[in-house]
């Protein structure tokens, strides 16, 4: 039994952080649109955005593999641009994680924006705030709890990702070999000691993060500051 390789741990944390940042940027405008639009086909968009919740990771992974592969409609252009393939690369994993965790970002944000409603935004407009200023000065601070939920859920969900990673990324050390994959391989090769160490670490970390979120949420609810959201 050798020393525990921390490489997969750092890779998982890096993947989760990048996914969180990317999803905040992508999910915010979509959640905003879903919360405020009166278009009837918004329900179709909502259903599509929720698909990753119900699809088996293998189905997602399969289609991503087809799309991102060197001959696929997206992968082809990536190869032309960067001279390297998206599949079995860190960049490919990021794209897969964004798709996989999409609903975990959109839903808490949409819920937060819906609870805020139009009224505070109307008030901001009458005070001279442009829609963008109203978003940054009113909607996003009022949606703080929605943002905390989205960040934590996406981060934790990405750490726990397995099937999609296996199909799109494989297990290349330093590139796509994240914690969940490393644990699987340790078990396969009967290195239970290492599997234990990584599993216990992931378990403890996840618990601490969730505990922190519940504490923050509870404080926010008890305090007077964020009565909405």
């Amino acid at each position: 039994m050798g020393a525990i390789d921390l490489g997969p741990v750092w890779l998982s944390l890096k993947l989760a952080s990048v996914t969180v940042l990317a999803l905040l940027a992508i999910a915010t405008p979509l959640a905003w649109w879903l919360a405020y639009t009166e278009k009837r086909w918004r329900v179709a968009v909502e259903a599509i955005a929720a698909l990753p919740l119900v699809l088996p990771p293998t189905v997602l992974g399969f289609y991503l593999l087809v799309l991102l592969g060197p001959a696929g409609p997206i992968g082809r252009h990536w190869v032309a641009l960067t001279d390297s393939a998206l599949t079995f690369s860190f960049s490919g994993l990021v794209i897969a994680s964004i798709v996989y965790s999409f609903p975990f970002a959109v839903q808490p944000l949409q819920g937060a924006f819906e609870r805020i409603g139009r009224k505070p935004l109307e008030a901001a407009a009458t005070l001279g705030a442009s829609p963008l200023a109203a978003f940054f000065r009113v909607a996003s601070p009022m949606a703080l709890r929605g943002y905390v939920s989205a960040i934590v859920l996406v981060f934790a969900h990405t750490l726990g990702e397995f099937g999609v990673v296996l199909m799109v990324g494989g297990s290349i050390p330093g590139e796509t070999r994240v914690v969940s994959i490393a644990i699987y391989e340790h078990v396969e090769t009967l290195e239970y000691g290492q599997a234990h160490a990584l599993s216990a670490g992931l378990l403890g970390f996840s618990f601490v993060v969730l505990l922190a979120v519940y504490v923050i949420n509870r404080r926010a609810r008890l305090g007077v500051g964020y009565a909405v959201g």
């Binding site: 009224k119 505070p120 109307e122 008030a123 901001a124 407009a125 009458t126 005070l127 001279g128 705030a129 442009s130 829609p131 200023a133 109203a134 000065r137 009113v138 601070p141 009022m142 703080l144 007077v224 500051g225 964020y226 009565a227 909405v228």
Partner: protein
Amino acid sequence: MAELSLDIALERGSFALEVRERLELAGITALFGPSGSGKTTLLRIVSGLETRAAGTVTFDGEDWQRPGRRVPTHRRRIGYVFQDGRLFPHLDVERNLRFGARAADGRAAIRFESVVDALDLEPLLGRRPTSLSGGEQQRVAIGRALLANPRLLLMDEPMSSLDVRRKAEILPYIERLPDAFGLPVLYVTHSIDEVARLASEVLLLSGGRVVGRGAVADVLERIDLWPVTGHADAGTLVAGTVEDAADGMASIRLERQRLRVPLRAMSGKPRSVR
């Protein structure tokens, strides 16, 4: 004197609003009518928050809305006091007040200190909106609207959610607004007492149409408008000077007579009574 001209139509299901009026705004102009008569909708059209109306809105020579073009709410120089206050819960009172703080357009800016003084907001500055009473919240909302340096103040039943005592508390503040800040006010209400007490002109709405307009005293006297102003409530408005007032009774001197009425008032002040 600022001119507001409206030529607008809005249809929403069974409700239709059609208003074509040219208003000279000075002091407080009341938009009065029963529930569902379109007062609030009209105010929202003037503010630009209601975007489905067709037609034109012009204020002081500036086109706020004409076919094919609409100035968005945040570029109209208005202040808006909502029925429900709508203070921002994540900001304390002072930061709510300073939220608008638009630069004044050439005219003297309304100063923070003068608004805080006029509305007695000093003790509230550090508080959170959720810890304020309904009346306090509305005072802050009025202050916040003023500090955005509007050219027209729109008020949508700002006292409807308050009980009688809180109303009495906040009325004097609203009464002083036009003089203190040199600003025309468009005031939506379904309370005839508020019209009588606050407004100089009134626009009477019923079923989405203007059915009467003019000086408050004249409109309230018109028998043909009783169905709208409220028959049982009809009365006349007299203006006089308060001679002396004590224990909730006041003597008001009209031209040759003296009227004793149950009223809290200050001696020597002009006052209208219904």
